[in-house]
Every structure is written in C-alpha cells, then in structure tokens.
C-alpha cells in the first residue's frame, strides 16, 4: 500500500509539475464547470426550459469522464513517449495495478470536481434538493464513478495496443455526452443508439439520479439500475484484464510495443 501511494503521488506530481496552483485549479475545476454550464445552457435553449435540474445532475456525472476517460485512458501514452513502457511491461507487477496507481490521485481530484460541479451547478441553476434522499444520491454517485473508473481502466489498456489514443479518448468522451442520457432522453435515439447507451457506464446512474431528483423512483428500480451499473463496470474491468494479458503476450512475442 505504501508503495502504491508513493508511486501514485510520484506519477501525479510528474503529470502536474508544469502547472501552477491557479492553472491546476483552472484545469481541474473551472474548465469542467464551464463545460457543464455550456451543456446546461444548450439544453435550456433547446428544450425552452428554465428548470435545468436534470441537466445539472446528468452533466455533473459526466464531469468524472474527464478523469476516468482522459487521465486513466492516456496513462500509457506518456510512458511510450518517454520510453518507460518496456520497463512497465517487463516488471513483475500487474499492469492493472500500474493503471490504478496512475489513476488514484486523479480519481480523488475527480471526486472533488464532481462535488464542486454539483454544488456550483445547483447554485447557478437553482436546483431544488429538498425532498431528495441525499444518502441514496451519494451511493448512486459513488457507484457511477466506480463504473466509470472500470471503463477508464479498459480504455487505458487500449493504450498498449493502439497509438491513436487521442482520437479514441476524445471520441469516447463525446459518445458519453450523446449516449448517456445526460442531455436528452435515451428514448429519442434509434434502437442501435439505445443499445450503445446500455453498454456504456453512467447511463443507469444518471437515470437513477434524475428519477430520484424528480421523486419518481421506487427502491426496486434504483436497486436494479445500480446493480446494472456495477455489472457494466465489472465487465469493463474483466475486459481490461483480458486486453492487458493479450497485449503483454503480443508485446513479448512480436517485440513491437514501441514500434507501431
């Protein structure tokens, strides 16, 4: 555990060393918040409404994609660029552990960002939290984040088999905005789109939190959505495990880890 934390802190310091405290705060808090405001304003204009609660909640969930998709997903890009990926592949530790080490502190920041997003968004857009079960809401939020972290883990492993990670990560972040139901009802999408949304993390958490906010949720429904969310996260962790094992084998057999 001590080594885990030390490595995490070193990696976190390495990634953020170039930035001053103000720049760091701007990047981790202000920018995600402005993004959330942007989507909420688009929704307010497009749906002709001033009650933006469901969009504040939906987009606050998406704030954690910044960390789960970009921080976790891009973790092998830098290692390849700086020539450390060979050492990581040949080191006798689990590669998933390496990804978790790299994602630990960004995840902590992500939790803070998401809470700041909820708080600031609620103040700016006057979200009414009275009558909402805050404890249950926090459980939904944590499960949503865990599932998104599982997805991030899977994306990170793709960094071992592809050098197009910028493209992949940005595409995934955009797909989450479209298919997670944060901005418009999933029922609006064609059948294929609805299937994609079911395969993505956060869809069920966002649905559960929106229903909770509207006071329309039953215990069985929330349980089913949360179990589904956990299941999706678990599937991505298993997929990540399989991809890592396969990438390691291919890397050792072909010796092309740094070449493509």
């Amino acid at each position: 555990m001590k080594r885990f934390l030390k490595q995490s802190w070193l990696d976190f310091k390495g990634q953020r060393a170039a930035f001053s405290l103000e720049e760091f705060a701007l990047m981790e808090t202000m920018y995600p918040f402005v993004t959330m405001v942007f989507y909420c304003l688009v929704a307010g204009y497009a749906f002709r409404t001033t009650n933006l609660s469901r969009w504040v909640v939906g987009n606050a969930f998406l704030l954690c994609t910044n960390t789960c998709v970009f921080s976790l997903g891009s973790c092998f890009m830098g290692e390849r660029y700086y020539g450390r990926i060979r050492s990581i592949i040949t080191a006798p530790i689990s590669k998933l552990e390496v990804i978790l080490e790299k994602g630990f502190f960004p995840c902590m920041i992500c939790i803070i960002t998401t809470f700041v997003g909820f708080g600031a968004g609620s103040i700016v857009f006057h979200v009414n939290w009275s009558g909402v079960n805050i404890g249950l809401f926090l459980v939904i939020l944590l499960i949503g984040m865990a599932s998104a972290a599982g997805f991030g883990l899977f994306l990170a492993t793709l960094g071992l088999i592809s050098n197009q990670m910028h493209l992949i990560l940005n595409l995934v972040a955009n797909l989450l905005v479209i298919f997670c139901g944060a901005n418009f009802p999933i029922s609006q999408l064609p059948a294929a789109g609805q299937l994609i949304s079911k395969l993505l993390p956060l869809t069920r958490s966002i649905e559960a939190s929106q229903l909770l906010l509207e006071g329309k949720i039953a215990f069985e429904q929330v349980l089913s959505l949360l179990l589904g969310e956990l299941g999706v996260g678990a599937v991505y962790v298993i997929l990540a495990f399989c991809v890592v094992k396969s990438a390691e084998r291919v890397a050792i057999r072909k010796g092309t880890l740094e070449l493509f």
Partner: protein
C-alpha cells in the same frame, strides 16, 4: 510585384504542407472528421423538439462552427509549440520570407482544411433526416461565410502568437475550446446569457461573425447586418493591431533573451 508573387507562393506552399501535416495527426483527424459528426448528432437530438424554424440550419451551422473552432484550438494554436518540440521553430523563425508569412500560411492551410467540418456536418444532418437546408439568400450567406472565415483566421493568428510565449500550450488549447463556444453563441444566442457575460461576448469578434452567419441564413434585415459588419470590422482591425504588437513584442523578447526554444 515579384516579391508579392514570392510571398503568395510561400503562403501557398506552407498551406499545402500544413494541410498534409495536420491531417497526419490523429487528434486533428478527430477534430476534422469525427467531431462534426458527433456534434451534429448531439445538436440534432437536442434541438429535435425545440420548435425552432429551420432548425437544421442551426444544427449544421452550430456543429460546423464547433468543428472549425476545435481545429483552430487544437491545431492552429498549437502549431508553434509543435515546431518548438520538433526543433524546427528556429529554422522557420529565421527563414528569409519571414516568420509571420509562414505562420499565416500555416493558419490559412489549417482553416481551409477545417472548413470540411461544415460539409461533414451537412452530410451527417442529411443522413439523419433526409432533409436539405434552406438558405434563402445564398450570395449573402456566402459573403457572410467568407467574412466569418477571415475573422477566424485573424483570431487564430492572435491565439498562435499569444501561445508562442508559453510552453503550456496544451493546457490553454483545452481551455479555449468550450468557453469560446459558449461566449460567442455558436449554438445558442448569447442573449440567454447574463448581461455581464454578454458584454464580454460582444468584445469577441467571433460573436459578430456568428451573428452575421445566422442572420444571413433566413432573415433579411440589412440595417442590422450592416451594423454587425461594421462592429466586426472594427474588432478585426483591433485584433490585427494586437497581432502586430504581439509579434513585435515577441520578436524583441526572443532576440534579447534568446529563449525561442525554451520559453
């Protein structure tokens, strides 16, 4: 006359080279090819039940502008930094034709290829709905479009010079994208923003370029459009002055401190 021809030749060759180089980068391909598609789908689904007249035009225009701005942020703005990391910045800086000409050529090349995002947005919208877009005054729209593109080239130039002074280009590139889309009314009119933010928006030249574009699609209010063109003209002139001042300041600083590759 010969010098002018030479300069144009350098700009054209730089544009061609830049378009090839940009397209080779995965992030630019995302901005150019994928971003307009996902933005069009997103805006289409958002505006589907909005009751907006001719909403397809706004979806295509919004997604196209977002695509163009994304390309500007992640390419035009960051090109100087890329040259710095490739070690070619000093070479183009001391090139006989002048650094400003080369940077202008690079930005023109990027902007030209980025215009493809409007075509992709239109194609995506057409595939989604099977409907074409009504532009009642095509000549006026074309003129407005060219004006907007010119405005974006000048803005890119300023941003590129501004970012040349910092090595944290990646941070600023990311920070520029969404706030500008929000402030300049790419997707929704800025009138829905609080009054104090509208003052900031009105100081930004792209806001007026977007207004002119949207006005030119379906409305025919010449008086209003003339005012918009005048304001945009003044703001673009200010931007040109800022670009010149930035360039001279940067040039002096580079020669005095010799920090072209390290600052």
């Amino acid at each position: 006359m010969k010098s002018m021809k030479q300069t144009m030749n350098v700009i054209w060759m730089t544009m061609k080279l830049q378009m090839k180089q940009s397209f080779a980068r995965p992030m630019f391909r995302f901005c150019l090819l994928i971003n307009p598609v996902v933005n069009t789908i997103f805006l289409y689904e958002m505006f589907l039940n909005s009751g907006e007249d001719n909403f397809m035009a706004y979806v295509v225009l919004g997604a196209g502008l977002m695509g163009l701005w994304c390309c500007i942020c992640f390419s035009s703005a960051g090109d100087i930094n890329r040259e710095r990391f490739s070690g070619t910045l000093p070479l183009i800086y001391v090139a006989p034709e002048g650094f400003g000409t080369i940077i202008f050529g690079k930005i023109c090349g990027n902007t030209l290829i980025s215009l493809l995002s409007f075509g992709i947005s239109y194609g995506t919208a057409f595939l989604l709905t099977g409907k074409s877009i009504t532009i009642q005054y095509p000549v006026k729209f074309l003129f407005a479009f060219l004006t907007a593109v010119t405005c974006f080239v000048i803005v890119s130039l300023c941003v590129a010079y501004f970012l040349m002074l910092s090595r944290k280009t990646e941070l600023y590139m990311n920070l520029l994208e969404i706030p500008f889309e929000l402030l300049c009314g790419f997707v929704f009119p800025i009138e829905i923003l609080p009054k104090w933010i509208q003052y900031i928006s009105n100081l930004l030249a792209p806001t007026w370029a977007v207004r002119i574009l949207k006005e030119s699609i379906a409305k025919n209010n010449m008086e209003k459009e003339t005012v918009y063109y005048l304001i945009l003209g003044v703001e673009v002139l200010i931007l040109v002055a800022i670009a010149v001042i930035l360039y001279r300041w940067m040039d002096r600083s580079i020669r005095k401190k010799a920090t072209l590759e390290v600052s």
